[in-house]
C-alpha cells in the first residue's frame, strides 16, 4: 500500500502536467483509416488519445477549432542532411561505417524550423554518398528549440548509409590537389568494396566466435582486437543495423540486392533509386523499400533515365515506396511530391498520402509510433489550411509529441520582436567592438 501511494505521489505531478489538446471540426486524413470529415483528434501528453467524429474535450483541454482545415500526420523524410555540423562526408576511406551522424548533430540548423513550417516532423539524417559505405545515420524529430539529445528518437533502429554509382566512384568531383584519386573508380570497385567489407566481417565474427568457444572450454584464448568498423559490419549481418542505400541505375540496384542475398544481409531502403521502375519486381522480391525524388532528373548521367512515373510503377509492383527530399528546400513541401504521384501514373489519393507518411515510417521501422493518425501513436500532427495535396494549401500548426513546434500565427506575431532584438544585439556587438578597439589604443 505504501509503495502504491509513493508511486502515485510521483506519478501525480507528471499526470497533472500532461497537456490535453483537442483539435476539432477538421477533415482528418488518418492515412491508415481513411478520411474523417468534421472529425477530432484528442492529444494527451505526447500521444494521440482518440480520433473520430464524436470525441469530446475534457474540461481542462486546450481546444483548437480547425473548421475548414485538414489534419494529417507529420511528414517523414527518409533522406535528410540537415542538422549536421560540417561535412556530411567522411571521404577518407571507401568504407567509413564506423563513423556516426549522431556525433555531429546540431540543433541550430534553421532548416529544422523551415521543415516544420512545411509539415515535416521526422527525418533520417544520412551521411553523404562519397563512399560505398558512408557511416551510421540517425533518425530524428525536428524538435526545434530542444537539445539535440531530445531530437533523437529513442527506440529508432540503428541505420547505415551505403552508396552506389557515380558518387562513390568519385565521378562527379576531383580529389584535392596533390591527392590521388581514391579507390574505387568503377561500379565494379564499388561492389568489391562492399563484398570485401562483409567478407572481412564474417572472418571477424568467426574469430570472436572461436575465442568465445575457447573461453567456454576454459582454454587459453587471446581476444581478437576490437575493430569498430568490423563491429558495425557484423551488426549489419546480425540484422541490428538497417541499410539505406543510395542508388540510381538498375544494374547497381540488382547488384546490391544479389550481393545482399549472397552475403546474408538485407537492404531496408534503396535511396533515390531513380531507375527503380526498371527493376521494381526485383526490389519487391528482396523486400527492400524505395525512397525517391518524384521529379528530379538529368542532373547527372545516372539520373538521365529518371521519370516521375517511378513512384507509380514501383507501387504497382508492390514496392514499399516513399518520397524524400535530400534537400533542405524540398523537405519543406514533400506534400507537392506526394501530389505528383497522382499526376504521374495515377496513384490513388490514399497512396499519395502514404508515400510521405506511413510508408516512410515503415521504411524507418517506426510505424508503431509515427506515420498515421491512430490512437496510441505519437501526436506528430500538422494542421493545413486546405487539402495538403493542393498547391494552394499552407501549414498552420505543427505538433510533435503533442507540443506545438510551429504555429504560423505565433511566427507572424514574433517577427517584429525578433527583428528588434537582432537590431539591438548587432548594435551592442558593434559598440562593444568599438569600445575594445579604443581601449586597446595606447
Amino acid at each position: 500500500m505504501r509503495k502504491t501511494l509513493l508511486a502515485l505521489a510521483f506519478a501525480l505531478p507528471l499526470f497533472a502536467q500532461e497537456r490535453v489538446t483537442l483539435i476539432r471540426n477538421a477533415t482528418i486524413l488518418t492515412v491508415t483509416n481513411g478520411v474523417i470529415e468534421n472529425g477530432s483528434v484528442l492529444i494527451r501528453g505526447a500521444k494521440i488519445a482518440a480520433v473520430g467524429r464524436d470525441v469530446s474535450a475534457p474540461a481542462n483541454a486546450r481546444v483548437i477549432d480547425a473548421t475548414g482545415k485538414f489534419v494529417m500526420p507529420g511528414i517523414i523524410d527518409t533522406h535528410s542532411h540537415a542538422g549536421v555540423e560540417g561535412s556530411v562526408n567522411e571521404v577518407s576511406l571507401p568504407n567509413t561505417g564506423m563513423v556516426r551522424i549522431q556525433d555531429a548533430l546540431t540543433n541550430d540548423d534553421i532548416s529544422a524550423y523551415r521543415q516544420l513550417a512545411g509539415g515535416t516532423t521526422a527525418a533520417l539524417i544520412l551521411h553523404g554518398s562519397a563512399n560505398a559505405i558512408g557511416g551510421q545515420s540517425q533518425i530524428v524529430k525536428w524538435k526545434w528549440g530542444r537539445p539535440v539529445s531530445e531530437w533523437i528518437v529513442p527506440d529508432a533502429p540503428r541505420t547505415i548509409k551505403f552508396a552506389l554509382g557515380e558518387n562513390p566512384k568519385s565521378a562527379n568531383f576531383r580529389p584535392p590537389e596533390g591527392q590521388q584519386r581514391q579507390y574505387p573508380a568503377t561500379r565494379m570497385g564499388v561492389e568489391e568494396v562492399i563484398r570485401k567489407s562483409f567478407t572481412d566481417a564474417r572472418d571477424y565474427m568467426a574469430a570472436w566466435d572461436e575465442y568465445e568457444a575457447k573461453r567456454k572450454r576454459n582454454e587459453t584464448a587471446i581476444p581478437p582486437r576490437r575493430d569498430l568498423l568490423m563491429e558495425t559490419m557484423a551488426d549489419i549481418l546480425r540484422g541490428k543495423i538497417d541499410i539505406h542505400a543510395h542508388s540510381y541505375r538498375s544494374d547497381e540496384i540488382v547488384m546490391l540486392l544479389n550481393l545482399a542475398d549472397e552475403m546474408g544481409f538485407k537492404v531496408r531502403e534503396l535511396q533515390h533509386v531513380l531507375e527503380g521502375y526498371k527493376v521494381a519486381r526485383e526490389i519487391a522480391k528482396h523486400g527492400a523499400g524505395a525512397g525517391t525524388f518524384i521529379d528530379w532528373w538529368g542532373y547527372k548521367a545516372e539520373a538521365y533515365d529518371a521519370t516521375p512515373y517511378n513512384v507509380a510503377l514501383m507501387l504497382r509492383n508492390g514496392v514499399l515506396t516513399s518520397v524524400n527530399s535530400d534537400s533542405d528546400e524540398l523537405a519543406r513541401h514533400l506534400n507537392h511530391d506526394a501530389a505528383k504521384a497522382i499526376k504521374y501514373g495515377g496513384v490513388s489519393e490514399e497512396d499519395a498520402l502514404r508515400v510521405c507518411t506511413i510508408n516512410a515510417a515503415k521504411q524507418l521501422r517506426l510505424d508503431h509510433r509515427i506515420g498515421s493518425i491512430e490512437a496510441g501513436k505519437d501526436a506528430d500532427l500538422v494542421i493545413w489550411t486546405g487539402h495538403p495535396l493542393s498547391t494552394y494549401s499552407r501549414v498552420e500548426t505543427t505538433f510533435i509529441e503533442g507540443e506545438i513546434y510551429f504555429d504560423r500565427q505565433q511566427d507572424l506575431a514574433r517577427r517584429e520582436a525578433n527583428r528588434k532584438e537582432k537590431e539591438e544585439r548587432l548594435k551592442k556587438e558593434a559598440d562593444d567592438a568599438a569600445k575594445t578597439k579604443k581601449e586597446r589604443k595606447p
Partner: protein
Amino acid sequence: MTCHPERSEGPRATSAGGASPSARLSMTVLAALLVASSAFAQSTILNSTGRKGTFAIRNATIVPVTSAPIANGTIVFANGVITAVAANATVPADATVIDGTGLFVYPGMIDSGSNVGLVEVDSVAGTVDTSELGDFNPNSQAAVAINPHSELVPVTRVNGVTHLVATPEGGIISGQSALIQLAGWTPPEMVVKGPTAVHIRFPRLRSAPISDQPQDEEAEKELRKSYTRDVDKLRDILRDAQAYGKAAAARRASQSVERFDRDLILEALVPVVEGRVPVVMHANLARDIRAALAFADEFKLKVILSGAQDVGRLLDDVKRRGIPVILGPILSLPQREDDPYDLLFTNAKTLHDAGVPFAIQTSDAHNTRNLPYHAASCAAFGLPKDEALKAVTLYPARIWGVADRLGSLEVGKSASLILTDGDPLEIRTNVRQVFIGGEEIPMDSRHTLLYEKFRRRP
C-alpha cells in the same frame, strides 16, 4: 491527337470535316505504342507537327486571363492565330473540333528565366552551355545555342509551359536571353524574340552563404577591393559602349569620320546603353539591389530586376523607377537564416499590393515544368489566384514585350494554349493537350516513353 494510351478520358474529338478524329486518335495511340517499343538512344518525339490547321475547342471553360472566364465557351484558331473566343463562336466548316466538356482552356505558360535548351545533363560538361568564360559576355546569345532536340523540351511543354526566356548565366555580363517557344526544328524556328535582354549579375559584396557576423577584417578588405574593381570594370565597359555608339553614329552620318574596327562586345552593349534593350539585373540582397539600381540610374538603363529576394525592403525604390520584377525561383530557400521562412512565398503578394509589375521564373531547366507550382506557392501565401496565373502568362508577356502575341486568349494572338482538366497551378491537374503557335503538340516526352516501355516489361 496524341493521347495518353492509358487515359480513357482524353479530349473527345469530333470533326466538322477532314479526317476522322477517332481514326487519328487510334493512329496516334498506335504510334505511341510503336515508339514505346523502340530503342531509347534518341527519342522520336516530334518537335512540332508543322501543321497549323483550323481547330475549335467547344464546351470548355475558357480562361482568357485578360477577361472573365467563359463557361461552355468556344475558342477557334487557324494558321496559328486565335480567330474567336466566345460563348457562341461560330465553328468554321473545316475545323477539327475538340469537345472540351469538363475541361479548361488557358494560355500557355511562360517561364521568365530558364535554362531549357542550354543544358542536357548538368554534370556532363559537354552538354552544358549556360555559362561562358570571362566576366563580360554581352555578345553571348542564348538564341544560337538552344538545342531544339533536347529531351527537356517535350518534358517541359507537356505540363503546359509553352514559352520561356532562355537565360545565360555566369560572369558579370552573362549574355543575351531569348524568348523561345518549345516547338520547332531549328533554333530560329523556336525564337519568338531575341534578344529579350542583356543579363547582368551585379557584383556582390558578400559571397554566399551570407551571415550577419562581422567578417575577418582582411577578408572583408579583399572582398571590398574586388567588388569595387568589378563595378569599375562594369562601368568602364558601359562607358566604352556609350562612346562606341556615338562614334558609330558619327561614322554612319559622315564618311569623313575615320573608320574604326568593329568590337562585338561593345556593339552588343550599344542598344543597352541607348535604352533600347533592357538589362536584367540579377540581385537578391537589399544592398546589392540598391547598388544595381543606382548603377542603372547612372546609365539610364532600362531595367528589369531579377531574383530580388529583399525587394520588400526596397518597394519605394522599385516603384519610383517603374521597374518590373522577375521573382523566383519561389521554391527555394531564403538567404539569411533569420529571414521569414515564407519570404519567397510572400514577395509576390508584397509586389502585387504595391502595384509593382512582376512575373515568375524557375531558374531551372529539368523542372521548368514546375513553373505553375512556383506561382501557386505565392497564392498559398496571399497572392490572389488569378494574379498567380497572370504571373506566368500575361505579366511575363508584357514584361518581355510580347503581349501582342502571347499571354492571354484574345483574337489575333498566337494560339499557344493548353487544354486541361482543372486549374494548371494545381499539381493534380493534367494537361490534356498543348498547342504552340497553333500546332498540335505531341503529348509524349522522354518520361512518358520510359513509362510506356517499362510498364510493359514482361
